[in-house]
């Protein structure tokens, strides 16, 4: 009995010490990160140091131990200046977005803080809306994105939008069409596009159907249903493959924009293919 109690106390002590260390680590990272926090730890977009510190230990644990994320080619993301991370969307709830943000904080040197372009419905939801703002995730409005890029920030964009995240498990890794807004922004601001593939998100939350009425009740377009009913993410190892930056020049031609969007989509598809192939090979290794 005493042994069990001792082990339990050791475990609690370990967890508390771990959380404390992670909070200290977060403080150090925030010193280096590209956010303009004021004396109270709030940046002009509402990002809060306290929220980041509070959530960092849990997010780091999810990143390192639950999803065991590996960020391959993350050195392709420029160390400074505006960047648009453009990738595939998946999983019913945005595990991919959260883990990609974490990869840029934990595994990129120097750490950078990507701003996610969130769908409008999320900003209407109580509790979710202020949480997104405090974590620096803003509504996907063109003017806002342009302003952030002009300030040299990293944007995280999923051009498949809600149709992408709402893919069913049977359609996993099959990309739907890309919207062209990100490319118009890239052409206007000169920001490089870094394509990336997120592998594992489709399996983490295997959506088999959408409960639309339930979703509407919650203020969302749908509620993802998994074989085990609730959309709780499974501990699937995830990998993020970052491609080399792509630079585009405006040639004033609408058809040309569509061609450039297709180039980015093809590159993301290639990265997905590489990621899936590597995953199979790793699984088959003795």
């Amino acid at each position: 009995m005493e042994d069990t109690l001792g082990e339990l106390l050791n475990l609690i002590r370990g967890v508390v010490a771990g959380v404390y260390d992670d909070m200290q680590e977060c403080n150090n990272l925030l010193e280096k990160i590209d956010l303009s926090l004021n004396k109270d730890g709030i940046d002009p977009y509402g990002v809060s140091r306290n929220y980041l510190k509070m959530l960092y230990p849990a997010m780091k644990w999810l990143y390192r131990h639950y999803f065991r994320v590996r960020a391959i080619g993350i050195e392709n993301v420029p160390d400074e200046g505006p960047v648009m991370l453009v990738g595939n969307h998946s999983g019913g709830i945005p595990v991919d977005g959260t883990m990609t943000v974490m990869s840029m904080i934990i595994d990129h040197d120097p750490p950078r803080y990507p701003v996610g372009m969130v769908d409008r419905f999320a900003q209407k939801m109580p509790i979710v809306s202020p949480l997104l703002i405090r974590l620096g995730q803003v509504t996907g409005v063109r003017e806002q994105a342009e302003r952030l890029l002009n300030e040299g920030r990293v944007l995280l964009i999923f051009p498949e939008g809600i149709r992408g995240i709402g893919k069913l498990y049977k359609d996993r890794y099959e990309m739907v069409s890309f919207t062209s807004g990100f490319m118009r922004l890239a052409l206007k601001t000169g920001a490089p596009v870094v394509p990336f593939a997120f592998i594992g998100g489709e399996e983490a939350i295997p959506t088999i159907m959408h409960a639309r009425k339930l979703g509407n009740l919650l203020g969302a377009p749908y509620f993802p249903i998994t074989p085990y009913i609730l959309p709780l993410p499974l501990p699937v190892p995830c990998q993020i493959y970052f491609g080399e930056p792509m630079y585009f020049k405006d040639e004033g031609d609408c058809e040309d924009v569509a061609k450039k969007v297709a180039l980015v989509k093809t590159r993301v598809e290639e990265l997905i293919e590489t990621g899936l192939k590597n995953r199979v090979e790793e699984t088959e290794q003795p």
Binding site: F121, P130, I133, T139, E143
Partner: protein, 304 residues
């Protein structure tokens, strides 16, 4: 230079008049409300801007510059009456100014003209569409007056028109819409939402209006102070307690306890942020706010 301040009895009007007087300007005032204890150097006429005595001030005193403080949001309980009053007053200010050869009109409006919605840009520039009427339908008169005033930019080519869209003020006077919202020990917020609020010190507010006037700007300009703060932080730093209320009961609660109509009628404002970008004004004038967000809240909290 002779300056006529229309709406001189408001908190901003009084402070503006005193500051301009200190700078050596000749100050005239027009307001239907009294200003007890007005400095003797300031000549005030108590009249409705739409009536003959007000026009007489323009005709006989011939001001060089007219500063019109934002139309009233809560002056009349009857919305229809207020709507007409605000638009007719705006029309009168510009017509008299043009007819009696004023050189410029400074129209002091509100940043809320851009509206607050989940899908509006967080930092609105002067080029952004004014969604205020859509997101705060019961304040439509204020936004319509703003847009009506902007017509004067082309309707009166001989008149220099400056339209300033300004954020809330806070300061030791504890007057103004945001100050009244923060008046009690508890401040009602909407459960599950915490928007960013933008405000500036009342001295900076006055300083910005004078800067715009002296720079003889032309057109529409956003004016903001320090960076915005979440409403919860603002309430906390003002020494108050946040009272989260479910959205359904929010307007009746505010009406019951006498909070400003501007908030009771615009729930979206307590849910979503209205943030403006004042880069254009700062670049045109070199304006710098003197009080940061903490100094402003401290001034409001301790009244000094």
């Amino acid at each position: 230079m002779k300056i006529l301040i229309v709406g001189i009895a408001t908190a901003v009007g009084r402070r503006l008049a005193e500051e301009m007087l200190n700078l050596g300007y000749e100050i005239l005032g027009l307001d239907i409300r009294p200003w007890p204890g007005v400095p003797k150097e300031i000549e005030i006429t108590r009249a409705d801007i739409r009536r003959k005595p007000a026009e007489e001030v323009f005709r006989t005193r011939c001001p060089d510059t007219v500063v019109y403080i934002a139309p009233a949001a809560g002056a009349a309980q009857d919305y229809d009456r207020r709507y007409r009053m605000n638009l007719e007053s705006t029309r009168a200010v510009f017509e008299y100014s043009n007819n009696y050869k004023a050189k410029q009109v400074v129209f002091v409006s509100r940043h809320m003209v851009y509206g607050a919605a989940p899908d509006t840009s967080m930092y609105c520039s002067e080029d952004d569409p004014p969604y205020g009427g859509l997101t705060f339908p019961k304040l439509n008169d204020i936004f319509t007056a703003d847009l009506y005033a902007s017509q004067a930019l082309w309707r009166y080519p001989d008149l220099n028109v400056i339209l300033l869209r300004m954020v809330y003020t806070l300061g030791p006077s504890r007057r103004g819409a945001l100050a009244r919202f923060l008046k009690g020990p508890g401040v009602p917020t909407i459960l599950g939402f915490d928007p960013l609020f933008q405000f500036m010190h009342e001295d900076d507010h006055v300083h910005a209006i004078i800067t715009a006037m002296e720079a003889k700007l032309h057109g529409v300009y956003n004016i903001a102070g320090p960076q915005p703060l979440p409403l919860s932080t603002l309430i906390d730093k003002a020494g108050k307690i946040s009272i989260p209320i479910p959205q359904r009961w929010y307007p009746p609660f505010l009406e019951r306890f006498g909070y400003p109509e501007i908030f009771a009628n615009s729930i979206n404002h307590i849910k979503y942020s209205v943030i403006i970008d004042d880069k254009k004004f700062r670049q045109a004038t070199g304006f710098m706010h003197r009080y940061d967000e903490n100094q402003t809240l401290k001034a409001f909290r301790y009244g000094a």
